[in-house]
Structures are given as structure tokens and as C-alpha cells.
Amino acid sequence: MAQRSRGDDPEAEIRTMQMRDVKVCLLGDSGVGKSSIVMRFVSNTYKPSLESTIGASFMNKSLVVDGMGYRFQIWDTAGQEKYRALAPMYYRGAAAAVIVYDTTREVTYRAVKSWVNELRSYGPPKIVIAIAGNKCDLEDLREVNRKDAEDYARSISAIFCETSAVTAINVEDLFMAVARQLPLEDFSDGDRRNGSTVNLRSSPEQRKKQCCSGGKNSPSSSSTSRPQSSRQS
């Protein structure tokens, strides 16, 4: 967990703070656990047998990362083939896409690459891509090598992490990593809302090494202090 900047009541903090809206879509084959990841993230619950999603489900979740408020508008798409053609509706205008595969089913990992290609060709130009290998709690059944996936993610500058919706491991971190990787320029949500106000992030923050490695932005070395001002805007 990243440290919450300050304030002992995160709920109250979220209520008063300026929020950035982030449209995120989850993509990936049927049964890899997209809905379970979203459920874990949004309501911190897990159900062993979810019905398969129809079209896509929509959910909201607010999160404070490094003193900044983010409101995720999550489109959890259906993995079934018959809904495949609808995907552009959900990644259209999205700030980020989380591509999920199942670490215990090699075939779902292969689908990741075709999603990446599709996003690169037809998705928004600056879309942040995250790749999540779900079901990492089932180590015995593993079919996808972690290192391979990680290398691939790095090669395309995508965020990578292995998650488990069952144990909750890395689920919130995944979304925090997404938030950190969003381009700074469209920070204040369009523009007008705050006029001339500048979003001052709380002083440069000490960041712990995250399980989620952001492709280009987070060096693979140990903990680094990364002043926000060094980001290009």
C-alpha cells in the first residue's frame, strides 16, 4: 500500500478533494477474472462463481494516490467472443486499459498481445496500458511464466503485475500504478474546473518499491525518490 498523504479519514478527504475522472476499461478473455478484480477493487469482496458479464458492467471507485484524488469509471467488459466487436465503445475515450489474463491458462496470455495491438492501432493515442496476470494464488497450476510476461510488458511500456482477486493481492496497487502513470497534462479534468489553480502535489514522495512496475516511468532499481516536478507537462 502506498502511504496516504495525510488526514486520518480518507473518506472525508475524498469528499472535499478535487477529483480527476479516469475512464478505465478491463479487457481480456472470458473467465480470466476481470469482474472479480473489479469487485475486489470496488467493494473488497470476492464471489467464487460470478455470472459471465453481459456487454460490460460499469462501476465507480475513488482512490487517493500520492495526495491526488482519482475517480475511476470502470468499464468491465465481457470476455465472451460474441461481445468482442463492442470493445471499441469501451476503450474509446479511455485513459487506461487493464488487460487481464489467467496465469493458469496459457491461451489467455496469448490474447493479451492481440489486445495490445488493437489498442495501439485503434485506441486513444495516449492510453495507459496495464497487464494483469490474475489468479496468481494458484501457483501449482501456473502455465504462464512471470518473467516472460514481465519482459513483454516492459517491451511495450506497459504496467505489469500479477494479481489475485481471491487474496486481494496487488489489486489496489494495480489501479494505483495506473493512476501514477496517467499523463500529467490532462490532469485537471479538461481545464475549466479550477481555472488558474495549479495542482500542487504534496512534496516529492518517497515511493516504496511497488509490485506493479510501471514500464517506462518506474526504474527497476530499488526505491527511488521521484520528484513530481520532473515530469513533463
Binding site: 475522472d21 453481459i54 456487454g55 469509471q73 468499464w75 465481457a78 461481445y83 476503450y91 479534468d189
Partner: protein, 496 residues
């Protein structure tokens, strides 16, 4: 050819349940004009027609129709324009996806701002509430923080752009307002259903906050089941507003007293050619006739030239259509309110006085509406107090009294007031010391009281939303005490 959007309105089969139960709470707090339809359905249509040689008839022709009882014209038009193109491209799964999204939508609670996810985007729209201030902006509610700046913010749930709808017939809008107010039969003819349905909806909108109580059909065709009923020449034209495109109607409805012919819209921003002259209805022979208003109706009120000048000026100075629409809307809102305020005031004077509400008499009732008595008040405190428009207001009221619009308004007010009186009476009853009161009373009187209390409790069940729970508890307590004070044999009779 290409894509066309419009909406229609049809009667529900008789014998079906009149309202959806889930709409009851909504209907109670929403503006009267936005209540869900009890006997009609709206259909919002997105129609695509393109050449396609692979199809036997040479054309791809399909519509997506959204059927609803809620008159959210702006929202549902927007909605179907999102859903339909996806359906044409990707087939049924996109309809499943859309329905799945709509399933997750929150109830339309009046006063709330709703975030409505639909196919990868979120529509944000506010549901108006009966207590909204009509003139001036709507104050944002404290629940603001629940709202997310969505991908598309819809400025209105239900309003259409009346300025654009009336663009080519602006000089006659006030006359049209009178026709709608008094419930005259009107037919709108144009080449496209999107034009007719905008115009019909704009006509209905013009008398807001008053509800238009006659039938209206934004797009009426020869296939509608009321075709015979509406076009018969053996009776006077029915008091409905129809939008039609089929040239056949030019002949069939030739005898109608008021015909609006809308031509193709010129580019927005160009000043409309004022078609000042009204034309005799009989001169309308074909649908090729010139745009204009064909009627022999003589307005009761003098034309307000100020508003027309303002709009002309705005149009010359390229004022945005939204602003023009807002000006025109506001004008009609004020005009309708000027017309209604004297009626509201008179209605209030029919209320019985608070001191006449006695627990030992029946609930007082509202006095009967007396048109003549009302018209006497118009002389000194009529619409002239709030509107600069001159004319024969009294005669306009007389016509209005004969219209369903008046009837609808009157019954609504009567219901509200009588309910209020019942509540006050119930409170008076629950607050009086009934046990003390029955001490020296005959059994007959006591039984009478018991029946009255029972009746009140029944009323409380049917109107649980407006009745204070405390009064109900007190009454129940009273009832128990009174019954237990009766002789045993009578008690058993009462309890059965």
C-alpha cells in the same frame, strides 16, 4: 436515405394496468408535465436506410425503437442515437449490452442528478422536481458530490428546442400558444418525422408548467389504429395535435381548423422570413403548399411584438440557438404563469379556514369552482398584473374552462387540497382528548366516532406518504381506548 430520428406516441391496449407501480413515487414528486403516461407509450426511433444491393429490395432498412412510458424526450432521443448505430454495426450483442447497462440505472428520483452508464459512456442528467423554481436557474443540490463529471452532460431530460422548431413560423407562436392552451385540433405537416415530432413536442412544451391533457401524436401515420377515428369527416376534428408527413393527409385533414406547415429549415442563424399572413385552411391543397400557419382563428390576445423583435435581433446578431430557445421558453413560461396565477389565487380562496376544521365534524371540503365568480376577480387582479399583453383575457379563460387542460389542472389541485384537508382533519382528531369526549356521549355517537377513526386510518394507509406516522399511532391508541370502554357485546360487534 441515411439516418432519421423521431418519436411517436401510441395508446396502450385497454385493459392493461395503467401505471407501472415503480413510477408511483416518481409521479408524486416530479413536475406534473413529466409524469409517466398512464395510458400511452412513447416510442423513440432511430431509423437507418441505406442502399444495399445484396438485399432483395435494394435497401437496408431497420429501426431501433425504445419504448417507454416516461416522457424524457431529450434523454431517450440521445439514448437511442447511441444504441442504434452500434446495433446496426454489431448486431444483437450490443442490444444486450445496452439493456444490461440500463438495468443498472438508478430510479429517476425527482431532484437527483443521475449518472447513466451506457455503452462505454456516461450520460449525466438532472431529473426536475415539482418544487423547482421555474424561472431562473435550478439550484444545485447538496448531493452534488455524488455526481461525476460524465462524458456527456445532457442539459435537459425532456425539453426540445422550441426556437428551432418554430423557426419558420415565429410570428405566429403566440397564436399557437392559445390554440394549445384551449385544446384546439392542430395538425403539423412537414416532410420529415423528425421535424413534425419536434414541432408537436414544442407545442406541448409551450404551456409548461401546465400539463397538456389532450391526445397528441408527434408522428402520426395512416397505419395508426386511430387513423379512421381522427380523420373522419362525419364529426368535428378531435381535439388532438398530430404530426404528419404523408402527403395523403393534406387532403384527408383539409377540413381541420388549424394547420401548421413547416418547410425545410434554412441554415440556423439566418433570419426567418416572417410569414406574417395567416392563411385560410382551405387554401392548403397539397403538401407542397408554402410553409405557414393556416387558420381562421382570431387570437384573444394582442401579439407581443417585443419578443419577436428580440428574437429577430438575436438572429441577426447570430445569437446562439440555445440562447434564443431559452428566451422563447422563458417568454412562454411567464405568459402561462401570468395566465395561471389568478386561477391559483382564486383556488386558494376556496380553501376552508383552519378554524373550521373540527375533530367532531367531517373533514371540510374545498368549495366548488365558480367560473363567474372567478372572472369577476380577473378585472382587478387578472393577468394584466404580471403580463404586458393586452387582449380579451376573460374570453380566453372562458374557452380554457371548456378544455381538458383546465379540467386536468383543476382535478390535480382539488386532489391536492382535499388530501391536505384530510391530513389536517386527521391531525385535529388525533390531538383531541377523545376519551374525555365520549364520557357523556350516547353509544350511537361513540360508534359513529369509531367509524370515523377507522375511516381515517384507512385514508392513512392509502396516503402513507403525506400522513405523519405519529398521528396514526395516536389515532390507533384512541381507537383502542374507546373500544375498550364499550360494553363487551358491543366490542365484539365492533371488532368483526
Amino acid at each position: 436515405m441515411g439516418d432519421t430520428q423521431f418519436h411517436f406516441r401510441i395508446r396502450q391496449c385497454p385493459g392493461r394496468k395503467p401505471t407501472v407501480k415503480a413510477h408511483n413515487a416518481y409521479n408524486r414528486d416530479c413536475p406534473i408535465t413529466l409524469q409517466s403516461e398512464s395510458a400511452y407509450y412513447y416510442g423513440f426511433v432511430y431509423f437507418r436506410q441505406t442502399k444495399d444491393r445484396t438485399i432483395r429490395r435494394g435497401y437496408f432498412q431497420k429501426s431501433v425503437v425504445l419504448v417507454t412510458k416516461l416522457p424524457f424526450v431529450a434523454l431517450f432521443s440521445q439514448l437511442v442515437s447511441i444504441i442504434a448505430p452500434e446495433y446496426f454495426d454489431n448486431g444483437e450483442p450490443s442490444l444486450e449490452a445496452a439493456c444490461h447497462d440500463i438495468d443498472q440505472w438508478p430510479d429517476p428520483i425527482p431532484g437527483d442528478t443521475l449518472n447513466l452508464p451506457i455503452m462505454g459512456t456516461v450520460i449525466q442528467v438532472r431529473v426536475p422536481c415539482r418544487s423547482d423554481r421555474l424561472v431562473g436557474g435550478v439550484q444545485a443540490k447538496s448531493q452534488e458530490r455524488h455526481t461525476i463529471p460524465a462524458h456527456s452532460v445532457l442539459p435537459t431530460l425532456h425539453e426540445v428546442d422550441i426556437y428551432s422548431a418554430f423557426h419558420s413560423i415565429l410570428p405566429h407562436v403566440q397564436l399557437l400558444w392559445e390554440l394549445v392552451l384551449i385544446g384546439e385540433p392542430v395538425v403539423v405537416m412537414a416532410a420529415s418525422p423528425s421535424v413534425t415530432c419536434n414541432c408537436v413536442q414544442a407545442l406541448i412544451n409551450m404551456i409548461t408548467p401546465l400539463k397538456y391533457c389532450n391526445d397528441f401524436r408527434p408522428y402520426f401515420t395512416i397505419h395508426d389504429s386511430e387513423f379512421k377515428e381522427f380523420t373522419t369527416r362525419t364529426q368535428a376534428p378531435p381535439p388532438v395535435i398530430l404530426g404528419v408527413t404523408n402527403p395523403f393527409f393534406a387532403k384527408t385533414l383539409q377540413h381541420w381548423p388549424h394547420i401548421i406547415r413547416i418547410g425545410e429549415m434554412g441554415g440556423l442563424g439566418t433570419s426567418p422570413k416572417p410569414l406574417n399572413k395567416l392563411k385560410k385552411a382551405a387554401s392548403l391543397k397539397t403538401l407542397d403548399s408554402k410553409p405557414g400557419v393556416y387558420t381562421q382563428y382570431k387570437s384573444f390576445l394582442a401579439k407581443d411584438k417585443m419578443i419577436l423583435k428580440r428574437l429577430m435581433k438575436g438572429s441577426q446578431s447570430k445569437r446562439p440557438v440555445e440562447a434564443q430557445n431559452a428566451i422563447l421558453r422563458r417568454h412562454f413560461l411567464e405568459l402561462t404563469q401570468s395566465f395561471m396565477i389568478p386561477l391559483e389565487r382564486y383556488m386558494a380562496s376556496l380553501m376552508p379556514l383552519q378554524r373550521n376544521i373540527s375533530p367532531h365534524k367531517g373533514a371540510p371540503l374545498l368549495r366548488q369552482f365558480d367560473p363567474e365568480e372567478f372572472l369577476q376577480t380577473v378585472e382587478h387582479s387578472g393577468p394584466q398584473l404580471t403580463s404586458g399583453i393586452k387582449g380579451d383575457w376573460e374570453a380566453l379563460y372562458r374557452r380554457f374552462f371548456r378544455s381538458p387542460n383546465f379540467e386536468g389542472w383543476y382535478y390535480q389541485r382539488q386532489r391536492e387540497v382535499n388530501q391536505k384537508l384530510q391530513v389536517l382533519h386527521m391531525e385535529a382528531l388525533s390531538n383531541s382528548n377523545l376519551v374525555e369526549w365520549i364520557r357523556d356521549k350516547e353509544e350511537v355517537e361513540i360508534v359513529d366516532l369509531i367509524l370515523r377513526i377507522k375511516e381515517k386510518l384507512k385514508f392513512a394507509i392509502n396516503n402513507h406518504t403525506v400522513v405523519q406516522q405519529e398521528s396514526v399511532m395516536k389515532l390507533q391508541k384512541h381507537l383502542e381506548n374507546i373500544v375498550s370502554a364499550l360494553p363487551d357485546d358491543l366490542q365484539t360487534v365492533i371488532k368483526t
